[in-house]
């Protein structure tokens, strides 16, 4: 074929009456003057005629449906349930996020965040107290924010946790009592007050990780993603025809 692909496409659209008026007039004037274009036009018309006169085939059998051909019918009724579940879980997730970040959540959770930092702070101030031998005042200062944010639950934990520092104190006493080269030469120094009162309450193991609300958020988010994925896959399998 001597003509370009662009011209061939113009001819293809021309024979189907799909060209705009302006393009049609321009093409017709070119057809008057270009023999190659006219030959191509005859050729494309003939191809279309052959295809349109192709013998039509009848169905070799009847394709009527029987009830046993429709096992996937139940899946249709599952879609609304799945959609409702997705919306419900999404709304729950939004509600939890608003509660969490909107400041509506119980201060208990914030204490949980602050606890590790406060413990570190308290330990540092405790160390200073040992060195300066007058750290009780500083410790009181360090404890101030902790006291402000404490709830009854945390106070209860502190009360329960009193025994553990005593054990630690005993361990410290053992270390101090052990003879060292300097201690044998020097007279025994007065012992510092036991750290029972200065050490902050230990944080229970189960509270050192992410707070409960975070687990709820992660769980809900995962559920939303899973539900969306299941819906997408089911639609994909079902065939996108609409």
């Amino acid at each position: 074929m001597d003509i370009s692909r662009r011209d061939w496409q113009l001819l293809s659209e021309y024979i189907d009456g799909e060209l705009s008026e302006r393009k049609r007039i321009r093409l017709e004037s070119r057809l008057d003057s270009e023999r190659g274009l006219r030959t191509a036009l005859q050729s494309i018309k003939k191809t279309r005629r052959i295809l349109r006169t192709a013998p039509r085939l009848s169905a070799p059998k009847e394709f009527v449906l029987t009830p046993d051909m429709l096992p996937r019918r139940q899946k249709e009724s599952f879609f609304p349930v799945l959609r409702f579940a997705t919306v419900l879980v999404s709304m729950l997730l939004v509600a939890v996020l608003v509660l969490d970040f909107g400041g509506f959540v119980s201060p208990l959770n914030r204490v949980e965040y602050a606890a590790p930092a406060m413990q570190q702070e308290a330990l540092e101030s405790d160390g200073d107290a040992d060195k300066q031998n007058g750290g009780e005042q500083e410790l009181e200062v360090a404890e101030e924010p902790q006291i402000m944010e404490k709830t009854e639950g945390v106070e209860r934990e502190m009360a329960e946790g009193v025994e553990e520092p005593e054990e630690e104190a005993k361990a410290l006493d053992v270390v101090e009592e052990s003879p060292t080269p300097s201690s044998t030469a020097a007279p025994p120094t007065p012992t510092t007050p036991p750290p029972t009162q200065t050490l902050p309450p230990p944080i229970p193991e189960e509270r050192k990780g992410l707070p409960v609300i975070r687990f709820i958020e992660i769980g809900l988010f995962s559920l939303v993603v899973i539900l969306l994925l299941v819906r997408f896959l089911m639609k994909k399998v079902d065939g996108d025809v609409s």
Binding site: S12, P55, S58, D240
Partner: protein, 200 residues
């Protein structure tokens, strides 16, 4: 009974009403599947799948041309079948008779009013067209079958294959060019009027 009534009754779960629709459109659906896939058995499978899918998706039909809606479903069923066949290639291209021999002219293509030589020529031309169609890429084939064989306009074809109008125009032009080159090799099979046209 009117098509809209049959559709409504099918939506209410009446399978017999839907089967009346099946009988009305099965030739068109099968023919589309056969021309797109190019193999009778696979075309039958695609046709059956298309009708099952149509029954299940009937609630998504929002009026308009039911034929176009059905052609969209069968075209998608053909794509699925072609994808499946690409994964598991099948060698048989022609139907077989009772003795396992390949038939050039299956019985359902025969018209009792035709002379044997006409039947032979017609079936050979049909085979030639199918051979040329099979040489096309799937996406070109479905467009040319919809426009030139099913007689759909560009806009409807674009809707059926879910592609922009510009893509349809370009695919159709390229498909016609390939078919024109391929069909030149089967000039002797063309009807007399078309043969004379090419000699002019």
């Amino acid at each position: 009974m009117e098509l809209s009534h049959l559709i409504q009754e099918s939506l209410d779960g009446d399978l017999d009403s839907f089967n009346q629709i099946v009988l009305e459109f099965q030739d068109m659906v099968y023919y589309q599947a056969y021309r797109v896939i190019g193999e009778p058995d696979a075309a039958e499978d695609a046709t059956q799948e298309a009708f099952i899918s149509a029954y299940q998706k009937l609630h998504t039909y929002r009026g308009g041309s039911f034929k176009s809606w059905l052609l969209r479903i069968v075209t998608n069923a053909c794509y699925d079948e072609l994808r499946r066949r690409q994964r598991q290639p099948v060698t048989a291209l022609k139907p077989e008779d009772d003795h396992g021999e390949e038939m050039n002219s299956p019985k359902w293509m025969e018209d009792p009013a035709e002379k044997p030589e006409e039947i032979l020529q017609r079936s050979e031309l049909s085979d030639a067209i199918q051979r040329c169609l099979n040489a096309l890429d799937d996406k070109f084939r479905s467009v040319v079958v919809l426009v030139d064989i099913q007689g759909m306009d560009y806009a409807t074809t674009a809707e059926i294959v879910d592609r922009p109008l510009g893509t349809i125009k370009s695919r159709l032009a390229r498909a016609r060019l390939s078919l024109q080159e391929c069909l030149e090799g089967f000039a002797e099979l063309l009807p007399v009027d078309l043969r004379q046209e090419s000699e002019v």
